[in-house]
Structures are given as structure tokens and as C-alpha cells.
């Protein structure tokens, strides 16, 4: 069973030549089969946490550790982390001009699986996954994220996740900007993967709306670069009713 462990993680980001501390000691353990929700106000550092785990070069880990099944994730390059079983569904997926979705998916699957998937079963696999997400087959011939609507981008992220079957999936605001239909398809995709019990999910969100579709085992309140409180799914309901204020006051910056 895969386990992601984040210990006392301190991360800073370089902004205009100045280093700014964002994460101030994050502790988190995500195991395969679990679904964790991280909820917090805008600017609290949720994306920073996701990017730091995935290895984005803009973020500097000042101290602390990240391990996947005991392996030092911080020592790995971005692509090594992905091949080790980590997946980040991005809040803002970027356009890759000239690279078709089908070519991209196949290249990624080849990299993650260590060998090129057999063409015939692969085509079927992609078609079925797209079907489940209600994506038009013509989508596969478009360039990655080029001219995609917000909903298409997020479905495409979930499509990748379902095909790559990661050990740990970080979903950064997969719900933002989605209409109800798209939210339902995206949530069903997440639930399919969760149901396998093979993947640990970290659902990062600003709103409680998606938690009506995806039931978390754990909820963490993220404020000012730390986890201010953790609990079960009841915590999400409490947040919906009373917001983050209580936690922000508790954690006023030193």
C-alpha cells in the first residue's frame, strides 16, 4: 500500500528576487485507498503544497521531508516523481501547441508504464475512459489544452489520471470553474479511481461543493501555510457553515 508522508515541510517561493516563506511546517500522511480533502482560503498555500510535492522548480524546500513508501521524493526530478507514482492535476493546465492529446497521452503512458502500451488495447482504453468522462473522440486530435474550455481542461486532467493510475493523486482545485454537469463527470472519475483502493487522493479545494460528490475520509483546514485543524467529513460541514475565520484568527501571523 502506497504511503505519502510529508513532514514539517517548509517551502519558500522566489518572487521578484525576494524569497518568501509560504509553507511553515506541513505534516500530512496520505495512504492508498484514502481520500483527503485540503480546504483553505485563497492564498493560504494549497497550490504551493501540491507543486512542492510534484517538484515544480519555482518552489524551494527549505526544510522538512517528503517520502513515498520511504523513498526520498525531494531527491527526485519532476519526471522521476511521476514515474514513482505521483500525479498532480493542475489548477491551471498549460497549452502544449503542436502536441495532440492522443500523442501526449500515449507518450505519458509509455513513460509511466515503462513500455509503450499495445496499440489496439490502448486505443480502446482511451476511448472508454473518454466515454466515461463524456468527452468527444475528436478531442484526442486537438492539441493539449489549446483552446480548451475550463471544463475540458479539468476532464482532460482526470482522463490522464485514470489512464496513468497513480499511487498518489493530488487534485488542485479540480472543481473550480466547472458547471454542474462537468463537476459530476469529474467527480465520478475521481470516485472510480478511489474505489480501486489503489490510489491515495489529496483533493485540494476552496469550496465545499465538490464534497457533495466526493466523500473524503479526512478533512484538513489549511491556513497560512500550515494545517490548522484536521478531522473527518463533519469538519467540511462545519466549514461550510462558519467559514475559515475562526482558524485564521487562531493562526494570526507572528
Amino acid at each position: 500500500m502506497a504511503t505519502l508522508e510529508v513532514r514539517d515541510l517548509h517551502v519558500s517561493v522566489d518572487a521578484d528576487g525576494q524569497s518568501r516563506q509560504i509553507l511553515r511546517g506541513v505534516d500530512l500522511t496520505v495512504k492508498a485507498g484514502q481520500t483527503h480533502a485540503i480546504m483553505g482560503p485563497n492564498g493560504s498555500g494549497k497550490s504551493t503544497l501540491a507543486y512542492s510535492i510534484a517538484g515544480h522548480p519555482k518552489y524551494t524546500v527549505d526544510s522538512g521531508s517528503i517520502t513515498l513508501d520511504g523513498e526520498d521524493v525531494l531527491a527526485m526530478s519532476v519526471d522521476e516523481r511521476a514515474r514513482a507514482g505521483m500525479f498532480l492535476a493542475m489548477q491551471y493546465p498549460v497549452e502544449i501547441p503542436g502536441v495532440s492529446v492522443s500523442n501526449f497521452l500515449r507518450t505519458a503512458a509509455t513513460a509511466i508504464r515503462g513500455e509503450a502500451p499495445k496499440l489496439r488495447t490502448w486505443v480502446k482504453e482511451v476511448r472508454e475512459s473518454m466515454d466515461l468522462l463524456s468527452m468527444d473522440p475528436a478531442f484526442a486530435e486537438r492539441n493539449v489544452n489549446e483552446g480548451f474550455s475550463g471544463g475540458e481542461k479539468k476532464r482532460h486532467e482526470i482522463l490522464q489520471m485514470e489512464l496513468l493510475k497513480p499511487k498518489i493523486a493530488l487534485l488542485d482545485e479540480i472543481d473550480s470553474g466547472l458547471d454542474v454537469d462537468a463537476l459530476r463527470y469529474v467527480s465520478e472519475g475521481v470516485n472510480r479511481l478511489a474505489a480501486t483502493g489503489e490510489t491515495g487522493l489529496l483533493l485540494i479545494t476552496h469550496y465545499t461543493r465538490i464534497l457533495r460528490y466526493i466523500e473524503p475520509d479526512f478533512v484538513h483546514v489549511f491556513v497560512d501555510g500550515v494545517i490548522a485543524a484536521s478531522g473527518g467529513k463533519d469538519l467540511a460541514q462545519e466549514l461550510e457553515a462558519s467559514g475559515y475565520e475562526k482558524y485564521q484568527k487562531l493562526d494570526s501571523p507572528a
Binding site: 522548480p57 526530478s77 498549460v94 502544449i96 501547441p97 503542436g98
Partner: protein, 379 residues
């Protein structure tokens, strides 16, 4: 020589006498991007002609290949060039290679013209004439490699109803300088495709031009260039719509990478002129550049000039994009290594052009060459 009314565009009406053209100073619109100091006397004419580059034509039946003197009428099937470099090429060549595709001949194999440079110290001036007779169909590959200091002129005359594709490949060694002009004069209902691929050389400046001789012609001009550390590639197109009801499509794509000490620079100019009599013209030109690193500069200047109100369509586009850290991160986050990510992007970017070649073996060679260019690039 006859002066055109459009100072910034060339025209096919010119002269075979180099002395009809002033030596460029670098201030002229046509030469303002070109590093004249690196041209080793090819344009001012101070370079001694040693003509050491070899040329070999490999052609199937139905094709006539001749070597004629530059004063022979077979060497002068097009009006004089409008460019001093091209006039020098035509007048200082030791002989002119004339390739004729006979009337009604439909070739199933390409005509292969191999130009192999021996060194980049002594200058070669060269003139190739390709004469495609009515209703013939042919693919011609001009396959250039080795080290050169070369100024050349390629004249392609495509007679009524013929269909021709000319692939010109610049795969020069890195010390090479090449100034080239490739002119296409196309007749009634002709379909003419040009694919220009520039991968090697220190300074390469090419001027592909199209002039329509009769209505109904269509020209497809494709180009691919990949400038690496220290390379300067300029592609300066001119499409002259002088008769009604012709079509042109220009699609050029360039990739660039450079370093602080060895920057790269590419220039694409797309001059399309629709003259007042050229009603019913349909034209579209596009240049896209993909900048892979810092220290790489892509100049892109589409220039569409319309003198008639009755066009069927006229448009242009130009875009230079950067393969940036965010794209790299996205691909790496899907398990793809940085090198593979760059290959994926460049392969995807150039696919549209390479698929136009239609010669599988050459296409595979070029894909490998392009990917080879990417190697050794530090991440």
C-alpha cells in the same frame, strides 16, 4: 534593369548582370537583417569563384539532364533576377545544370539533385534550371550537404497543367555560408509545391519567389528551419500575384535555440503582392516560431499588399511562442523526461511541414535530423 514600384519587394523583372545592382550596404530593406560581414565576398563579388561544390543528378527515365554554359538560352528561361547575389550566381557559375521533365511525363520516383560542398573557404556560384513541361508530374529533391561558401540560383519553370514539388534541403556543415534564390514561374492551372528545409550552416539566406504567368495556378510554399547555437537563417519569400484567379499558401515554421555566447537568429519575411489585375486571388501566409531557449531571436514580418478590391481571400498570421518552464513542468509531471518533452514538442510542431514531403525515407531522415539537433542541449 527595370525598377519596380514596390521598393520593399522584389519582382521577377531584373537583370543577369550583377553590375546592374549596387553592392548592398545593409541599410536596404532586403538586406537589413543579414550579417553582410559574414558573407565572405559572395555579395560584393570579391570572392574568387573556385566552384568546388559538386552536383550530381539522379533522375528516372523521362528526365533530361544537361550541363550548358551560362550564355546558353536553356539557362535563361526566366527573366533576370532582382538580386545582386542571384545575378552573381548566374553569371559566375562554371556551367548551368538544366533538368527537363518532358511533356506528359509522370514520374513515380523523385529526381534527386545532390549538391555536395568540399570546403567553406573558396566560393561556389551555381545556377540550376528545372524546366517542367506541360502536364508533367514530378518531385524534385535538391539535397545539399557538406561545407560551402555558396551563392546559387534555382529557376523552376512549371508549364501549363503540370504538378511539381521541389524539396530543397539545406543540411550544410556548421561552417557554411549559403545565399540562395529559388524562383518559380508557374503557368496555367499549375500546382506547385515548394518545401524548404534549413537545418545546417552558419549563415543561410534564401529567397523563394513565386510568379504566376497565367490564371489558375496554385502555389504551396512550406518551410522548416531549426537554428541552433550561432546560426543565422533568413527566409525571405515573395509571392507575386500578377494574374487573376491564382492561389497561394505559405506556411513556414522555425525552431530556435541558443546560448549567451552563441545566440541564434532567424528571419522570416513573407511579401505577398496582389496586383490590381489579379482579381480572384486567394492567399494565406503564416509563420510560426518556437523559441526553445533564451538567446534566440526570431524576426517575423508578414507583408500583404493588396491593390485590388476583388480578392477571394487574403490573410496572414505570425506567432512566436516560447517552450517555457511551465510546459516542461507539465510534461515532466506526466513522467516524460525533459529531453523527450522537448522532442515531443518539436516533432509535433514540425509534423505539418514534414508530412508535405511525401517521400517516406527522406521524411524519416529529417525527423531524425531534427531530433539530432535537439540533442546535446542542456536542460
Amino acid at each position: 534593369m527595370t525598377q519596380t514600384t514596390h521598393e520593399h519587394v522584389s519582382s521577377l523583372i531584373g537583370s543577369y548582370d550583377p553590375d546592374d545592382f549596387p553592392v548592398p550596404s545593409g541599410r536596404e530593406e532586403q538586406w537589413r537583417f543579414t550579417p553582410l560581414k559574414q558573407l565572405r565576398g559572395l555579395v560584393d563579388g570579391s570572392a574568387a569563384a573556385s566552384n568546388t561544390m559538386t552536383i550530381a543528378v539522379d533522375a528516372p527515365a523521362g528526365v533530361r539532364t544537361e550541363q550548358v554554359s551560362s550564355s546558353d538560352e536553356r539557362a535563361r528561361i526566366l527573366p533576370g533576377p532582382t538580386d545582386r547575389a542571384a545575378a552573381l550566381a548566374a553569371s559566375r557559375t562554371s556551367n548551368v545544370t538544366v533538368v527537363t521533365i518532358e511533356q506528359d511525363v509522370v514520374l513515380t520516383e523523385p529526381v534527386w539533385i545532390r549538391c555536395t560542398g568540399a570546403n567553406s573557404v573558396s566560393a561556389t556560384f551555381q545556377h540550376i534550371v528545372i524546366d517542367v513541361k506541360p502536364l508533367a508530374q514530378a518531385v524534385i529533391v535538391i539535397d545539399r550537404s557538406g561545407s560551402v561558401c555558396l551563392s546559387d540560383l534555382v529557376d523552376v519553370r512549371v508549364a501549363d497543367g503540370a504538378q511539381v514539388t521541389v524539396v530543397s534541403l539545406q543540411d550544410w556543415a556548421s561552417d557554411s555560408v549559403h545565399l540562395g534564390q529559388q524562383r518559380h514561374l508557374i503557368g496555367r492551372d499549375v500546382s506547385c509545391t515548394s518545401v524548404v528545409i534549413t537545418l545546417g550552416g552558419q549563415v543561410v539566406r534564401l529567397v523563394p519567389t513565386v510568379v504566376y504567368d497565367a490564371p489558375g495556378g496554385s502555389a504551396h510554399m512550406f518551410g522548416l528551419f531549426f537554428a541552433r547555437e550561432g546560426q543565422f537563417f533568413e527566409h525571405r519569400l515573395f509571392v507575386d500575384h500578377a494574374v487573376p484567379n491564382c492561389t497561394s499558401r505559405v506556411t513556414y515554421k522555425g525552431a530556435l535555440q541558443g546560448t549567451e555566447n552563441h545566440p541564434s537568429h532567424t528571419v522570416w519575411i513573407g511579401d505577398v503582392l496582389i496586383r490590381s489585375q489579379a482579381v480572384g486571388t486567394d492567399t494565406y501566409e503564416i509563420n510560426r516560431n518556437l523559441v526553445l531557449t533564451d538567446h534566440a531571436r526570431a524576426d517575423s514580418v508578414p507583408n500583404l499588399e493588396i491593390e485590388t478590391g476583388e480578392v477571394a481571400g487574403a490573410g496572414h498570421a505570425s506567432a512566436t511562442g516560447r517552450f517555457d518552464d511551465e510546459q516542461l513542468f507539465y510534461l515532466q509531471a506526466r513522467g516524460i523526461t525533459a529531453e523527450e518533452a522537448r522532442r515531443l514538442v518539436v516533432r509535433g510542431f514540425f509534423h505539418e511541414i514534414l508530412q508535405q514531403i511525401g517521400i517516406e525515407q527522406l521524411q524519416a531522415r529529417l525527423v531524425a535530423r531534427v531530433e539530432g539537433e535537439l540533442e546535446g542541449h542542456g536542460v
